[in-house]
Amino acid sequence: MTPLLQLKGISKRYGGVQANSGIDLRVDAGSIHAILGENGAGKSTLMKLIYGVEVPDDGQIIWKGQPAHLSNPSDARRLGIGMVFQHFSLFETLTVVQNMALIVPGSKAALSARIRDLGARFGLTIDPRAVVHSLSVGERQRVEILRCLLLNPELLILDEPTSVLPPPSVALLFDTLRALKAKGMAILFISHKLEEIRDLCDTATILRQGKVTARLAPRERSARELATLMIGRPMPPAVHPTPQGLGEQRLELARLDYLNDDPFGVSLSDIGLSVRGGEILGIAGVSGNGQQELAALISGELTLPGSHRDCVRLMGLPVGDLGAAERRLRSFAFVPEDRLGRGAVPDMSLSDNALLTAHSRGLVRNGFIRRQTERSFTADCIARFDVRTPGPHAEAGSLSGGNLQKFIMGREMMLDPAVLLVAQPTWGVDIGAATEIRQRLVAMRNKGAAIIVISEEIEELFEICDRLHVLHKGRLSPSLDVARTTVDEVGTWMIGAAA
């Protein structure tokens, strides 16, 4: 049988980075094929080449036995290739049907009817008149998938489709994908989540540093084997915190309401939580349910009016009306979710970035920077937290995601804060560095710090946290004890279905 899609020796270079080199791939109709690899392994680049967003430097793309030249996504769509992007390519201010009309021919009424019809057949119900910015992430993904299906593709590419979904929605998505496969569609499924791939996919191609390292049937291998092939060495062991005596109350939020006047933002209502020394509290939930607002309220980037200063208490004192700098003076530290721009200034050296939050550690005297001390503080941070970089003079923007995250975490940890807030600690960080970061957090907890981790990765929270809250549409679930709860229970809270 002729394969539906075949790649021969595909290579692509961006500047000095060889994103793909000599990649061969074969996808058959009626099958789900996984592309497995770490962040930066070249998965997304490869998909962009297949979808015509980028053009390969070298190699051949063969569609149903014929060489194909794809210089534009519309070429790919004409052949019958559809793609669901990781960061959705939807337009927030347009309605669902307007988004579809951009690439699907037909009148609005006809499109709306087809959207409802396809939605009913594949479990992708959505209101065609809804404006996209009012939809949840899961609903947006449905819109993307529907937009592809309206063009009757023979190959559907999904780039990390589950990274944004709560577990119950993942199960729904998989049902949809299996139904599409049964109709004879081929699916390219890109992921770094091993269990999902073993669950869903028939065949898999593993990429590492832009090259194919294995082709296999994922159901016949263990997750551990797949991980080893993916990262090129055995997986580092996970550390779980052991129960320990708790210290005093360090951070407390009570009856905290926040009304967001940004229509694309989330309002918080009646938030209550508390963290003691020696524990890690996790905030689970799909991004966009109020995580950014909650982090900003805890860090002091958003302040409350004086009448509500009691809603946030740090070390027993009301701080709701204090700004970020004043809260940091009270032994609070914060690692924001976006490393470049908020966690660090991309064009400044690591030394100068260290100065930004560690200035109180003797790096400044009489208003002047002590360069020597600044450099040795930075060098110390680089050495202790295993940051791979030429040295303290390197620009923050030149570091890889994982290394920069280690540096920022290190900088905040060296301040030895009583309370540490970390948002999305391992977003876009490779598995090795992510494991190290989690180990550091647990070590810090064991030494008595109070830590709050906001994360989308449930597995990560289950690995390191003592207790969990789930954030859904600006409301916080009751505290769940990690030892006694289950992924399913947390998943139910994540979609707001729990009582």
Partner: protein, 303 residues
């Protein structure tokens, strides 16, 4: 004619140069490009329109030449802003200064010359109404500009072309990912904006005040830019803002003629201040502003 009738009749014509330029800028900004060179493009269009009409006695030729001049100048801006991904603010300001300079140069030999304004085109029936009759006795460009405002509103909100322009303005990256030629679409929008700015200038110099004086655009291009932003990128509000400005500037003239005891500079500044203030009040609703703001406005995009 009473004062009221004078204002009613004159408002539309006074508003037309700003409105025409602002409608062009609306399309440019909706596609995500901030063109601050409008003032210069209007000035260039005014000079070209005047010179061509003066020598050929054909106002249509004058308008066509002014549109062409506006397009050429806007393409220079497009080369800087799109091809070379230069900072749009800086590129727009530079092009604006260039346009004003060329305008002075072209107009120099005809300083203080006059033209015959074309005849007005009363709408039969309506123009004879008491009081509001003069509103329906305008030149053809006024009618066409108002029709254009309605057409552009419909295109932006109810056509695929409008969807594409808005999509490119909201997220050029996503638009490219689904296969739209972002740069070409923006180029088209810039050229359209340039053409309208050129014609707006020609209207000011050949119809509204058919007399050449250097610097005659006098900030109306900037008002056009302000109208677009404070009108929250919506055609209806831009029309409202332009009419308000037109009415107030006429009111100022009347005030001066009637000998109001205020310095003429103060009276002349009233329309600017009041228009900006009114539009600022309209756009002060942060929520509505955020929903209508063009997300990628002013950001360079390559690819």
């Amino acid at each position: 004619m009473t004062i009221l009738a004078f204002i009613l009749a004159g408002t539309l014509a006074a508003a037309t140069p700003m409105l025409l330029a602002a409608l062009g800028e609306l399309i440019v900004e909706r596609s995500g490009v901030l063109n601050l060179g409008i003032e210069g493009m209007m000035a260039l269009g005014a000079a070209i329109g005047f010179v061509v009409t003066y020598h050929t006695h054909n106002p249509y030729l004058g308008f066509a030449a002014a549109a062409l001049g506006g397009i050429i100048l806007s393409l220079v801006f497009a080369i800087l802003a799109l091809a070379l991904t230069a900072n749009q603010v800086a590129a727009g300001l530079a092009i604006g200064v260039l346009g004003q300079g060329v305008s002075s140069l072209l107009g120099k030999p005809l300083e203080s010359q006059t033209l015959n304004a074309p005849d007005k085109l009363p709408i039969p029936g309506l123009a004879d109404l008491p009081l509001i009759g003069p509103v329906f006795d305008q030149d053809v460009v006024v009618y066409l500009t108002l029709i254009l405002a309605v057409v552009l509103w419909a295109v932006l909100n109810h056509s695929k072309l409008g969807l594409i322009i808005r999509a490119v303005g909201e997220s050029p990256g996503a638009a490219r990912a689904i296969g739209f030629p972002v740069v070409r679409i923006r180029l088209g929008a810039i050229a359209f904006g340039g053409a309208l700015a050129g014609m707006a200038g020609a209207y000011a110099s050949t119809i509204y005040t058919p007399l050449w004086a250097d610097g005659m655009i006098a900030g109306r291009g900037w008002i056009a830019v302000a109208l677009v932003v404070f009108g929250t990128w919506q055609a209806g509000r831009i029309v409202f803002g332009a009419l308000l400005f037109g009415a107030l500037s006429l009111g100022g003239l009347i005030g001066q003629a009637a000998g109001v005891a205020l310095p003429s500079q103060v009276l002349a500044s009233v329309p600017y201040v009041v228009t900006i203030f009114m539009l600022a009040v309209i756009s002060s609703n942060r929520r509505r502003m955020r929903l209508n703001t063009v997300a990628s406005l002013g950001q360079s995009f390559s690819g």
